[in-house]
Symmetry: D2
Subunit: 340 residues, 4 copies
Amino acid sequence: MGATGIVGQRFIQLLEGHPWFELSVLAASGKSAGRRYRDVVHWTLSEAMPDDAGEMIIGPIDAKIFKREGCGIVFSALPAEVARTAELKLASAGLNVFSNASAFRMAQNVPLLIADINAPHLALVEQQSKARGGFIVTNPNCTVTGLATGLAPLKQGFGIKHVVVSTYQALSGAGFPGVSSMDIQGNIMPYIPGEEEKVEMECKKILGEVSEEGVEPLDFGVIASCARVPVRDGHLQSIVVELNRNFTLEETKKAFAEFKGTGEGKLPTAPGKPLVVSGDEARPQPLLDRDCDRGMAVTVGRMKKDQNKLRFFLLVHNTVRGAAGCSIMNAELAKVKDHI
Amino acid sequence: MGATGIVGQRFIQLLEGHPWFELSVLAASGKSAGRRYRDVVHWTLSEAMPDDAGEMIIGPIDAKIFKREGCGIVFSALPAEVARTAELKLASAGLNVFSNASAFRMAQNVPLLIADINAPHLALVEQQSKARGGFIVTNPNCTVTGLATGLAPLKQGFGIKHVVVSTYQALSGAGFPGVSSMDIQGNIMPYIPGEEEKVEMECKKILGEVSEEGVEPLDFGVIASCARVPVRDGHLQSIVVELNRNFTLEETKKAFAEFKGTGEGKLPTAPGKPLVVSGDEARPQPLLDRDCDRGMAVTVGRMKKDQNKLRFFLLVHNTVRGAAGCSIMNAELAKVKDHI
Amino acid sequence: MGATGIVGQRFIQLLEGHPWFELSVLAASGKSAGRRYRDVVHWTLSEAMPDDAGEMIIGPIDAKIFKREGCGIVFSALPAEVARTAELKLASAGLNVFSNASAFRMAQNVPLLIADINAPHLALVEQQSKARGGFIVTNPNCTVTGLATGLAPLKQGFGIKHVVVSTYQALSGAGFPGVSSMDIQGNIMPYIPGEEEKVEMECKKILGEVSEEGVEPLDFGVIASCARVPVRDGHLQSIVVELNRNFTLEETKKAFAEFKGTGEGKLPTAPGKPLVVSGDEARPQPLLDRDCDRGMAVTVGRMKKDQNKLRFFLLVHNTVRGAAGCSIMNAELAKVKDHI
Amino acid sequence: MGATGIVGQRFIQLLEGHPWFELSVLAASGKSAGRRYRDVVHWTLSEAMPDDAGEMIIGPIDAKIFKREGCGIVFSALPAEVARTAELKLASAGLNVFSNASAFRMAQNVPLLIADINAPHLALVEQQSKARGGFIVTNPNCTVTGLATGLAPLKQGFGIKHVVVSTYQALSGAGFPGVSSMDIQGNIMPYIPGEEEKVEMECKKILGEVSEEGVEPLDFGVIASCARVPVRDGHLQSIVVELNRNFTLEETKKAFAEFKGTGEGKLPTAPGKPLVVSGDEARPQPLLDRDCDRGMAVTVGRMKKDQNKLRFFLLVHNTVRGAAGCSIMNAELAKVKDHI
């Protein structure tokens, strides 16, 4: 769902040749329905459009059709307002939705999931299934997916007291047409509506503890400053974390390097390791590091210590690990865990 | 001196039509000497090269020539290594040097001066004059010039405990040829050699107290994360300041808006006010705000409070207020104060 | 009219402090009317918004209001579809419209005017005034304004047989939001809807002969290939002209250098000379040459001869000489010629 | 040879996993020799550096070493001046060099080869082998490789009288550090030293007829206007060809679409077809089309007819088909034809 947008395109590109999942229906809201995908989409990826998907006729967002076509999973790249109604309807009709939309990320019994970071949160779907028949699993905002991945080993090993993050966010994060070239060519836009609030809220839920009642968010302070930069893909982040205990730079480097995440069993879309530590003093860089491990690994570098504060830079591919890739990895975890 | 580089070009452009100073000699190191300025310089400013300067013959760096030509002031845009020897020689020969080079910024009796921020530091030149005949006045690193301007009213009104700054620095800061287009087009470089150290050190000196013995640096923590972005001019900074006392957002906004700096008397190159508070939720932006008050005013915006921490964005034109413009304003202060 | 768009903004910026004209009414279509300019416009110029204009209340497009406010001239930056109805209404109500819109450029008795290139065409307004009371004067498409300026001395001295032009057109030519950053960042778009047709048609009319019946277009072939590039302002053009007679490279250089245009009397907005020949082997460049003579002069360079064909590059500031600036210069000519 | 430059990096990336060739020695001139590749190279490709190559020690350019290591083929990405001496030495020592350097492209008995366009030219190596023991095969300038591919079907079907080409050339074509970001960010550079001459000369040789005495260049006029644009990879070209006979637009589209080139037998690096006709009215675009058929196919589009002139846009990946990829494909042809 939401097949024509940038994240929708990325879903299609990543699902081509997927070992477990097969694309059977493309759906979109509004005026695209009934038309051939190739004729409607403004394709923006440098990877060529898969021929099969190009020839598919876009259908409406309709639980009956999805069920008739035997969809075990529905991936959603819908805008938040559309998702709010549509995803709930589908879950109530017994479908399982893996959604990149922000609509239900903070909802009580909806997992805000990064499969290799907070796998236990997936258990929340059982409550949903009981209540609705189907369930919704969300993945976080693209910036948060990177940030939470970088914070996870620090939480484990040192405890997090406060986080200051400044972002250098790519254009594809704003969708299409998204940011006007008149606003961003040779310029920086130090404002992304709603983004800072999402960053501050979502990363606490992801790093929180799950119980039968829901998720108890991790308690720490966050100040996010989000800016758009003239880069196509890849969100760079400058992060300063105040840790709960004394540490050495070596300890934190080791914590990053040895971090394996919580993913049990090997998922096809998961990276070898969630975090890669760059040895180059001038990296991570969007252009060189965003495709690390097919865009699914987060790269960190430039660690520096100042008393109990750790500074580092982090890079996440915002439409792969930060959106469609995370959603697909989440669905893979759900399958392995027999939720679908 | 250093007339062919980007900062040198900016000196020439800003000195054209200056009410007090007249350009009488252009000097450069090495192979440019003896040639016509127009034939040697790779002009990079969108403002046209002043015709007079274009026709001048570049001379060597030589105190005798400067004195023979009656130079009361020598502006230096030399590289640090060259400056280290050359500027000292000139001062010892009785000349007064206003330098953008980093060589002597941290030296004991050398003012690190922003005329409208820490005017009293200029008094240090008296010690130098006694010792050497002439003196050196330095202006800070381009990033620091902006940062210190933004911190000054906060120091005054609230006290500064800790600063976290992440930068979005323009290409012109690296000089010419500077950054390769292969490294920065559609990319961010999260590393600028030596820059973070300068930021952390210099802003403490500027905000420090001057006495007969020298400058007592202000005591506070600084973590600087410096990145290069594909923007031509204008250094944007995302700043989080931990203040020494409780505050309201309104108080800090007022402190910014009412800040007048320390400049006594009106200097031709000084801005109306050192700081301009932008009312737009998506500014300051390099493209729209760098030329604020002829590039001499710093623009701030997007203030946000989190407990005792204040977040804001700040923009400084890196080659005007951040380099040549600051140097000229400093010389104007020295003239008003009868040091030259 | 059309005050909030990019060309509208440029009109406002160029009219600030104009010696003859004063801005008395701002008008826009649709939902902007009734609101303060500053609150509605998405300002995109690096020059600051004039304070007076910022405070003006935008009015509707209404001949009565314009007459009540004593408007002797109406400048139009309307979209073509709106212009088609609105401009005709105003002219019929006795107002004189100087329009950047394409709606009436090719109309029989409407001058397609560049005041310093084809001043005699202005005479067509007399027919209009008789028929309608007021008149419409159009200025050409931004690319054509540059091209026709470059071709004028070649027509005069050698005769033009065929023109091949490939363009490198700036983002501001597409308005706001215009081109999506996802389409153009690090990319070239070799297609601008409708542009090639305009180029091929309009330059023949401008270079044609005016008579009482209208304009007899100049007869020559044109192939235009128009591409959008990631440059903010300034349309660069690579031009190959097949001339009607043998020539030497020196002759054509001289023709460019000595070209004075047809402008009689000095107009405040007109450039010193319509054409400037660059002596630099790597120019004209958008960044360095677009502001030549306040953006009103066209720069040419890189002349090369191949048999009877002349190759050169040309640059025009697309929103100054190529739009608002040309319109204002045209109005100045009309005033000098007592048409208003 | 020349392993550390941008074309050298592309050779290494394309040879990874090659079915016929294996990388056994890396060589570079000057100060890189004796050091580990990973420690010396400034890697600029978004594809990760192959691990094996990263660990190799760079050797000097030395025929003895190459022979000792059993090199049947030497690929050269050397600068022209170095190539002039080095390549001739190697050929005289019996080695077969496939070179991207310009040094010998126009030499009498050296093939200027694009394997799928002018395969018969390869026969020239027999003369060289007799004279020197080994031979040199060159591939053309990156722009020419695209242009000649686009012209080949037109020559075949219609005959070429005159060509006007304006280019939009990518940054990687200038190597590293190549173009300064201060020159090209938000700008166009309408000058590339030596490029226009190469384009005009080389495409006549490629499209010429080979005989025992050498190559008789095709006789037609060429005017090339070469400009650098802020695009990372992919040279776009706006081309107008005057053909020798009348034609319809359909005929030329068919000639492009059905063009199979001269390649006999399937070579691993060759594209399925040398030319791909884009159906999209706004393509080819560098970002979307440069990787067409792994960067080895040229894309054309936007055909337009004006009397006997055909206009179209063309795109070639300048470091793949336009450099290293072409060289490798040429070596594959030489192997199939038993020259190595």
